[in-house]
Amino acid sequence: MEYRIGLAQYAPRLGEVDANLELADSWLRRAAAEGAQLVAFPELALSGYLLSDLVPEAAMPATDERLGTLSRAAPGVLVVIGFVEETHDHRYCNSAALLRDGELIGVHRKVYLPTYGLFDEGRFTRPGQQIRTQEVGEPLGRIGLSVCEDFWHPSLPMLQAQDGASLLVNIAAGPARAPGSAAGTRSIAGWHKMQDTYALLGTVAIAFCNRVGNEEGLTFWGGSRILGADGSVIAEGPLYDEALVMGSLETDDLRMQRYQLPLLADERLELVRRELDRVIGERAGMPVSEDTAE
């Protein structure tokens, strides 16, 4: 079955939540009109990225009626959108909401907050504590959400693939580093390699929505992509410019793809867990187990 995905690659406005809700509404309607069944927006699409102390002002709970209202603009369409979430106990998270017909299906809170180099996210937001997948019904079944830097940690997409995801949706606000130089090219190539590898090793489709535009001196690079579960590039957006990136997955292919390349089924999760437990224990200075017999 053909499953149509739209990626809204545009520039949200920094700190202007109401204006961003209107922008998102117009991109959502446009994507739905082109037949999108799932529409992904960038990271922090409702707030902009370089918020610093604007975080509390831009924040809303995941149950905020404005999110539901936005998704009702496109009946039946799955919406993945980034926003600053304020939890009931007043933690502020960089979150992705998954909605359909006004209903909140799930939330992913960014697990890995980059706080190095040009990034300062851990100064202003708190990390999520869960890596889960969400049931969205046929033909996708389960999907896994993540936010930008989360994808630089392969444990997350591989966990989501093991948890039954047929599609990984990563929403991003990726700033260009050294654009026009070899280092800049390597930075974008790094994103491509990583996505190609996850699709291949997870036999899982990938939708990556990265924003464009400028904040302060940063320029966000776009280049949103849709990959099939065999790693094939189905759609790719332009660098730096706004675009509605549309592409279709053939979901019937997944069954034979996973028969031909049964990596997920062959994974030795218990073995991995045992060895992880050992590594974690040793790092914490716990006694090393003497029992090493096979």
Binding site: L14, G15, E16, L50, L51, S52, D53, L54, A176, A178, P179, G180, S181, A182, A183, G184, G213, N214, E215, E216, G217, T219, Y240
Partner: protein, 289 residues
């Protein structure tokens, strides 16, 4: 030192991509502040010419005011070169001779020794800043900076003088990268080929004052700053040890020029320490009547 230094190259850049990013940055700064115009001081040198070309490409030549602000000792070719930029762009321009403004102040600075020369240069740079900001109010525009990354790192500029601006379009371009961007934009050839000079006194050249060529400085800065090399590694790659040491020391000594002056923290919340906002946010954009 200018033999083949494959291990310590000049910082390369794809000029057309840099132009796309920088013009996008300028447009975004204008949109975020609520302005549509820019003023830029045009000296006849490659930095200000490149800034003016970027401004015209981003905002349209009609929205760019290029200010020529010669002093009586400025090189005569500077004015011709500045006018060649105005002609090429078709932007607006004004001539403001700073001599009568500067001379009474310079009369208070004694001697012709080096220290006095630098003080005189600073007075000229700051007088140009006063004119730029005054004209920016009259022209309803933002002041576009013309400082490059090499200068900023070496502190080769006058604080509150030529370093003063609302935005710095070429502030992350090394001098050697800037030349590539200038060529890509079509900056007139005489400007590209003459030796860089602040033109604050006759015969002054940047490379004479800095004591090294821009290429040598850029190789070292690129290695130390962008690649985070140790001085030792720079030397092993063939860079001159004493120059590497001097550049590293200068970058550290000039840190103060690149940051706002600190305030002693005596309150709960202090700008720059724990009162942290993007420069532009809801409510900060100027609203026109």
């Amino acid at each position: 030192m200018s033999h083949a230094l494959e291990e310590a190259p000049l910082p390369a850049i794809d000029a057309s991509q840099a132009v796309a990013v920088i013009t996008g940055f300028i447009r975004s700064q204008l949109a975020q502040t609520g302005y549509s115009r820019l003023v830029v001081g045009l000296s006849g040198g490659v930095d200000s010419a490149t800034s003016a070309f970027l401004a015209a490409r981003a905002a349209g030549a009609d929205n760019v005011m290029a200010l020529r602000m010669p002093y009586r000792t400025s090189a005569v070719e500077s004015e011709a070169d500045a006018m060649s930029v105005v002609t090429a762009l078709g932007c607006q321009t004004e001539l403001v001779d700073i001599s009568p403004m500067v001379q009474p102040m310079l009369a208070l600075i004694p001697g012709d020794e080096d220290a006095a020369l630098v003080r005189r240069g600073n007075v000229m740079a700051r007088q140009r800043m006063i004119v730029l900001y005054d004209r920016s109010a009259a022209f309803d525009a933002l002041v576009l900076g013309t400082s490059n990354k090499t200068e900023a790192l070496l502190g080769y500029g006058t604080i509150h003088g030529d370093m003063a601006a609302a935005l710095q379009p070429i502030g992350d371009l090394y001098k050697s990268q800037l030349r590539a961007v200038a060529e890509c934009l079509g900056v007139p050839q005489p400007i590209l080929s003459k030796p860089p000079s602040a033109d604050l006194w006759p015969g002054q050249t940047d490379e004479g004052e800095l004591g090294a060529s821009y290429d040598d400085l850029d190789r070292i800065l690129f290695a130390l700053v962008d690649r985070r090399w140790t001085q030792d590694r720079c030397v092993r790659a063939g860079l001159d040890a004493s120059l590497v040491e001097r550049v590293a020391r200068t970058v550290a000594r000039m840190e103060y020029k690149r940051q706002l002056a600190p305030a002693a923290k005596v309150s709960l919340r202090t700008p720059g320490i724990d009162h942290l906002y993007p420069r532009r946010r809801p409510g900060s954009r100027r609203e026109l009547e």
